[in-house]
């Protein structure tokens, strides 16, 4: 079975230590979420795992056959319409124009975009639309592993919920694996098998939370209670400097 294994991973930008001694693994059909303060190195970790940054110290072993990214900044091609942006990965994979436009349109509709939006250039899309276009571009190539960097941060709660369900459906039915970054604890609790808490300076995993309850049976109460429980955890309080904010 395909998996992503990270062993003793360190990373520096210049002289600054960004990540230290990261170890974890992601198996097929699982969702792992990274939470942590801004600047703790989540995006850097994702880029290292996805082989977008050179690994200097440590090991990343990725045996998934295909992967796709939704970047924190959407990274759309400004000179292509939303439709062509969504179809970008398909085009690279050699899918004929008609077919890839069909697939891209279908995916866009699923994410609540309409034909009007698809004809627009990125500059004329709203932030949330841009985010969905980037998300659709990753989804539409049907990867085995997805790297999602705060993919829903600009969406309203309704859309967010819808897309979370869409993802969870893919995890259950298609054995999709997800490396998920979020600032939303409740979101992490809702969709993950495991949550890693990254503390800053240097970024290191200070807590590992395994969620045993099957996703289907995580109701509002469970999510709410678990979130509250986590927010009272001393480790989390110190990581996010929650005491500071109370003063």
């Amino acid at each position: 079975m395909a998996q992503l294994i990270i062993k003793n991973l360190y990373h520096k930008f210049g002289a600054t230590e960004i990540l230290a001694d990261i170890n974890f693994s992601l198996a097929q059909g699982k969702v792992i979420s990274i939470v942590g303060p801004s600047g703790s190195g989540k995006t850097t970790l994702l880029h290292l795992c996805g082989n977008l940054l050179e690994i200097v110290d440590g090991e990343v072993d990725n045996s998934f056959s295909s992967q796709a990214f939704a970047f924190q900044d959407a990274r759309l091609l400004p000179w292509q319409t939303a439709l062509d942006n969504i179809a970008f990965g398909l085009k690279g994979g050699g899918v004929a124009k008609k077919q890839r436009h069909k697939l891209a349109t279908k995916m866009a509709f699923k994410l609540g975009l309409n034909n009007d939006d698809l004809a627009k250039f990125p500059k004329d899309l709203s932030g949330g639309m841009r985010q969905r276009v980037a998300f659709a571009r990753a989804l539409v190539i049907k990867p085995e592993l997805m790297f999602l960097d705060e993919p829903f941060s600009a969406l309203d709660i309704g859309l967010k919920q819808e897309l979370q369900h869409l993802l969870m459906g893919l995890v259950v039915n298609e054995k999709l694996s997800i490396f998920f970054i979020t600032h939303d604890l409740a979101e992490a609790i809702k969709i993950s098998d495991e949550i890693l808490v990254l503390d800053a300076d240097p970024g290191r995993i200070v807590k590992q939370i395994v969620l045993d309850r099957p996703r289907e049976s995580r109701d509002e109460d469970y999510i709410f209670n678990t979130t509250r429980q986590l927010l009272q955890d001393p480790q989390i309080i110190s990581t996010f400097e929650l005491n500071f904010k109370k003063k």
Partner: protein
């Protein structure tokens, strides 16, 4: 293809939007006529005299051959500039050292006025089309070169990472990721280069005293103190530039740059 259809489709609306430009042209004509009333016809022939001279001129064969020759020269200069400037600019932009090294050379090339280049070209190559085209290239090439260089230097690593993350083949990276960005720099630079070569060509023709071209006719008009004819020739040059700019380039520009803010 789609882009082409869009250009044609938008054309009537585009023309309609030209009323403002036409109004300002008429204002210009009025000021011109005023200038004539103050200074007399020898210094500044009236618009009327000029248009009569222009009308008569357009009925001769010579002017058309002159225009054709001048257009041909400036097009050669322009095309060579774009090909050379675009190609070398992208090449230099791909390497940090090359772009740093090319800067001073380009500054020198741009710093030497075209009028000096034509003199040098005449000394080196004698009176020939070659001298004129050389001057045009030297004057216009740096503009395109700098555009291409900047376009290449500012290619975004983020978009490159994105396209790599999809395992995009090289050819598609060129057409979909790199080219549109670089082109968006080369295109406006090329428009400036075209204007440059159109202006410099006439000057070169005049200084090189070639027997043909608008510049040559201008020299003749000057020696005959024929201001209306000189003015009419200037008008021809301006009209040509306006035609190229607004009928040809501007619609293309709108189409290819509609993704810009």
């Amino acid at each position: 293809m789609n882009a082409f259809i869009n250009i044609i489709k938008d054309f009537p609306r585009y023309l309609w939007s030209g009323w403002g430009a036409i109004a300002s042209l008429f204002l210009f004509l009025a000021l011109w006529d005023l200038g004539n009333q103050f200074n007399g016809s020898l210094v500044l022939p009236s618009p009327q005299e000029t248009f009569i001279a222009l009308w008569q001129m357009l009925h001769t064969v010579e002017i058309w051959t002159d225009v054709a020759i001048t257009v041909e020269r400036s097009l050669w200069g322009f095309v060579i500039s774009v090909v050379l400037g675009g190609g070398l600019g992208v090449l230099a932009g791909s390497f940090a050292t090359a772009s740093i090294m090319s800067r001073p050379i380009i500054t020198v090339m741009m710093g030497v006025p075209p009028i000096a280049w034509i003199i040098l070209a005449l000394l080196w190559f004698g009176v020939s089309d070659g001298s004129i085209i050389f001057t045009l290239v030297v004057a216009s090439f740096p503009i395109v070169f700098v555009g291409a260089l900047q376009g290449t230097r500012t290619l975004e690593g983020d978009l490159n990472d994105m396209s790599n993350s999809f395992k995009t083949p090289l050819l598609m990276r060129l057409t979909d990721v790199y080219f549109p960005h670089v082109f968006s720099y080369i295109f406006p630079a090329s428009i400036s280069a075209l204007g440059m070569s159109w202006k410099v060509v006439v000057m070169s023709e005049l200084l090189a005293s070639t027997p043909t071209g608008i510049g040559a006719s201008l020299a003749v008009a000057r020696s005959h103190f024929d201001s209306p004819v000189a003015m009419a020739l200037v008008l021809i040059m301006v009209i040509f530039l306006l035609l190229i700019e607004y009928v040809f380039l501007e619609p293309i520009k709108r189409e290819v740059e509609q993704w810009r803010n």
